[in-house]
């Protein structure tokens, strides 16, 4: 069965590239425009992985990660975040919030897919 990916990013172009890449690879893709918007998908349905940006209006990436980890259904699913910072600080913060790993922007499709394959197979 196709794996379901929830992508959350406030940038439409990033969303489109990620969405296009993942659908091409056969993933089911759900798209949230920010953390708040993404929550509507977290209604108990099957989601295999969340990929979220960190800087977003309304509910940012860290907030979203924490919320996801509070939900029983999604407590243990992998969460990757998109980041341009190579600073460890931001990564630490996100990992403490419960993220599984990260994808450094900018990325080419292959890099995105390899990061995903690190956490779901």
């Amino acid at each position: 069965m196709a794996k379901t990916v929830l992508i959350v990013d406030d940038s439409e172009s990033i969303r489109e590239v990620v969405n296009f890449t993942l659908q091409n690879e056969g993933y089911e893709v759900l798209v949230g425009v920010d953390g708040e918007d993404a929550l509507k998908y977290l209604d108990g349905r099957n989601i295999d992985i969340v990929i979220t940006d960190l800087h977003m209006p309304n509910l940012d990436g860290l907030g979203l990660i924490r919320k996801v980890r509070e939900m029983d259904a999604y407590k243990h699913i992998p969460i990757l975040f998109l980041t341009t910072e190579s600073q460890t600080e931001k990564k630490m913060e996100a990992k403490e919030a419960g993220a599984t790993g990260w994808i450094i922007k900018p990325f080419v499709p292959a890099k995105l897919l390899s990061a995903i394959s690190r956490v779901i197979r």
């Binding site: 172009s13 243990h76 969460i79 190579s86 630490m92 922007k105």
Partner: protein
């Protein structure tokens, strides 16, 4: 692929710039508004990230610097002033230009970008390490070429992985880490599980396993560390380099023992444990001393055992298989769950033991074929022929007893090919053939049998000549029409020799009839095919092993008979076929083919049966099929075949007997001989009539 998204990005970035402008106007009025700063930072961040993804590298580099200012403002390291705001406005105009231009190519543009960046960087200590900034500062400078990796051989690592019990909490699957590691080269892994609490206290979401991985890889330590990138803080990882050598892939006995001990003791392996695998560099001279030393160092990996001991082992295991079947049956009847569990365990062990001992008695054919190479070479001299002996599939393994039985027949076939098959060079040239004749030996597996084909490209056999000789020898009645394969099969009749005169090489009284019976002794079969002037092929079909076969247990008149499964093509019911009888030859029509059949009850007990529930086994007989009618089919069994006693040796249609699980006895039918016997008897009957 990304191009189609580029336009989208530009539109989006322009929206971002407009939004930035609006936010800046407001920030000018309320410089303390944190929300505005956050909004500005975020927009810049989006432009930067997208810029790099969609090929606007200069834009991304530039925006990175601008973003840095607002990051500092955000973190209260810098206060917003009029200068910053006007600089940002100016920068926004420049960003619009870059969005229009794409990456800079002209020197003027590049210099102007440098100026802008320098202007912005005055607000903070330039962060040289930021890749985007450094790239902007020297966009033309190519990345320093990575030093060409020296032709490095594999390195060995011992990787100890101690995950925190909470590793599973953030969605990490530790098995993927092991997968990634083991994908890098040759590996061995060990799990340490003593931290897993007993079942009653077991918490599935708390990790209690630790691992050690032995990895032999061409990739370097950083590639290994990279695998752990997401779990750096949740996993204690120790990577130790081990002594070089190929021992991880080869897995010699001492390594296996070392791993087993570590697993049993739940004790980590240490780098020092691997010193023993250090390859002693051989210095050229003193070969004798070296040899002695190496022999002392090396653990014994193979040993010679008398083949009689292996025979004994195989025999004992065969007995054990029988005993075990009896035991299982007893346990089942008894119904005691403890006994049944034991019987199952024993069955598992027995199977393992059987497979091991069976494997032990296998030897590669190749080793025995060398003498044929030699033979062909010698023959080419004696016979003044140019001969080549080619072997394909010599690495195939066969039961040593089968190989022993095979040597004489193969020798005879090869001699025949060299002597009678392949023509003299001048004759071959006349026929337009390569003056050098080839004898090809091809061995391969086919189902549960091994096929050995020995073919030559010689003159082949002349059916007319064979038939004439057959009639001369009284083997064929004159006037009878025989098919080509029937004629060719005459060579297997006793007292038939194709050689016009007895020669040194092949005429030693050993005819093809002896070949046939020798092969039949090991439950094999010989098939001949020949085409005039093209050559002859003899195909030996052999079982993989002698002592244990897959058999179909059947009943005839209440007695148990086993038919080797490899001989059976199909099981038919009486309803499926149409019987017909003409004189003494009984046959039925099946799928448009007229197949003769033998009623086993009639043959063995001289009793006619008329039960329509009986079954027909369609068995192979050379290139034909013959039906064997039995009363009942019991099922499929692993059969340990034991030879019949001395008194029964002469009943050759029974190849042996087997003790079944319930202690009863069954006889193993040799279908080829049974059919031959039946045919001969029929012919005799015909004569006497």
């Amino acid at each position: 692929m990304l191009d189609k998204f580029k336009q989208k990005f530009v539109e989006e970035a322009l929206d971002n710039v407009a939004d930035l402008e609006e936010a800046l106007f407001q920030l000018e009025k309320e410089p303390e508004n944190e929300e505005l700063v956050e909004r500005i930072f975020r927009s810049m961040h989006t432009i930067k990230g997208g810029g790099a993804m969609f090929g606007f590298n200069d834009l991304s580099a530039f925006t990175h610097n601008l973003e840095t200012i607002f990051d500092m403002v955000r973190n209260k390291k810098l206060a917003v002033d009029k200068e910053i705001i006007s600089l940002t406005f100016e920068s926004l105009d420049y960003i619009r230009q870059l969005l229009d231009l794409g990456d800079l190519t002209d020197e003027e543009g590049i210099n102007r970008q440098k100026e802008y960046i320098a202007k912005i960087q005055r607000y903070f200590t330039p962060d040289v390490s930021a890749p985007a900034a450094s790239k902007a500062a020297a966009p033309a400078a190519p990345a320093p070429a990575a030093p060409a990796p020296a032709a490095q051989s594999k390195k060995n690592y011992l990787i100890t992985i101690e995950p925190l019990p909470t590793l599973l909490d953030n969605g990490t699957n530790p098995l993927f880490i092991l997968d990634d590691l083991t994908a890098m080269g040759d590996w061995k892994t060990m799990a340490f599980i003593k931290d897993i609490p007993p079942y009653a206290d077991f918490k599935p979401l708390t990790l209690g396993i630790r691992w050690q991985v032995l990895l032999s890889t061409e990739q370097d330590v950083n590639d290994i560390k990279d695998v752990f990138i997401f779990v750096e803080d949740e996993c204690k990882v120790d990577i130790a380099e081990l002594v070089p050598g190929n021992y991880i892939a080869e897995s010699p006995e001492p390594l296996v023992a070392l791993l087993a001990k570590a697993a049993a003791d739940e004790q980590y392996l240490k780098a020092a444990d691997f010193e023993q695998f250090k390859v002693v560099k051989k210095t050229a001279p003193k070969p004798k001393e070296e040899k002695g030393k190496a022999a002392a160092d090396a653990k014994i990996s193979t040993m010679r055992v008398a083949s009689s001991k292996i025979d004994e082992l195989v025999n004992a295991v065969s007995e054990l298989v029988t005993m075990q079947a009896q035991f299982s049956l007893l346990a089942e009847k008894n119904g005691d769950p403890n006994l049944i569990a034991m019987a199952e365990q024993m069955e598992k062990l027995t199977r393992q033991l059987r497979e091991n001992s069976f494997e032990m008695s296998l030897i590669p054919l190749q080793g025995e074929l060398v003498r044929f190479q030699r033979l062909v070479r010698d023959l080419s001299k004696t016979l003044n022929k140019e001969l080549e002996f080619v072997v394909e599939g010599g690495d195939i393994e066969l039961d040593k007893n089968i190989i022993e039985h095979l040597m004489d027949p193969m020798l005879h076939i090869i001699r025949n090919s060299a002597d009678h098959g392949i023509e003299l060079p001048e004759e071959r040239i006349k026929k337009g053939k390569n003056p050098k004749g080839t004898i090809l030996l091809k061995a391969f597996y086919s189902g549960s049998s091994v096929i050995i084909k020995i073919s030559d490209d010689g003159k082949g056999m002349d059916p007319d000549k064979l038939l004439k000789k057959g009639i001369e020898r009284g083997l064929v009645d004159p006037g009878v029409t025989l098919s080509k394969s029937e004629i060719l099969n005459l060579i297997f009749a006793s007292g038939f020799s194709t050689a016009e005169k007895v020669s040194d090489v092949s005429g030693r009284g050993v005819g093809m009839d002896v070949v046939k019976s020798k092969i039949a002794e090991i439950r094999g079969d010989v098939i001949v095919d020949s085409e005039k002037d093209q050559g002859t092929t003899l195909t030996l079909e052999l079982p993989l092993t002698l002592s244990i076969i897959d058999g179909l247990l059947t009943k005839v008149k209440g007695e148990q008979y086993v038919v080797p499964l490899s001989n059976i093509e199909r099981i038919l019911t009486f309803v499926e076929v149409e019987f017909s009888q003409s004189g003494l030859s009984k046959s039925f029509l099946y799928q448009g083919e007229q197949i003769s059949y033998i009623d086993v009850a009639e043959l063995f007990y001289s009793q006619k049966q008329d039960d329509a529930k009986r079954k027909i086994l369609l068995v192979k007989f050379g290139d034909r099929r013959v039906g064997l009618v039995v009363d009942e089919i019991v099922g499929e069994y692993q059969i340990v075949v034991k030879p019949l006693g001395r008194y029964m040796r002469r009943i050759d249609m029974i190849s042996g007997a087997s003790v079944m699980g319930d202690g009863s006895l069954s006889l193993v039918i040799d279908t080829n001989r049974l059919i031959n016997y039946y045919n001969q008897r029929r012919l005799k009957k015909k004569e006497s009539e």
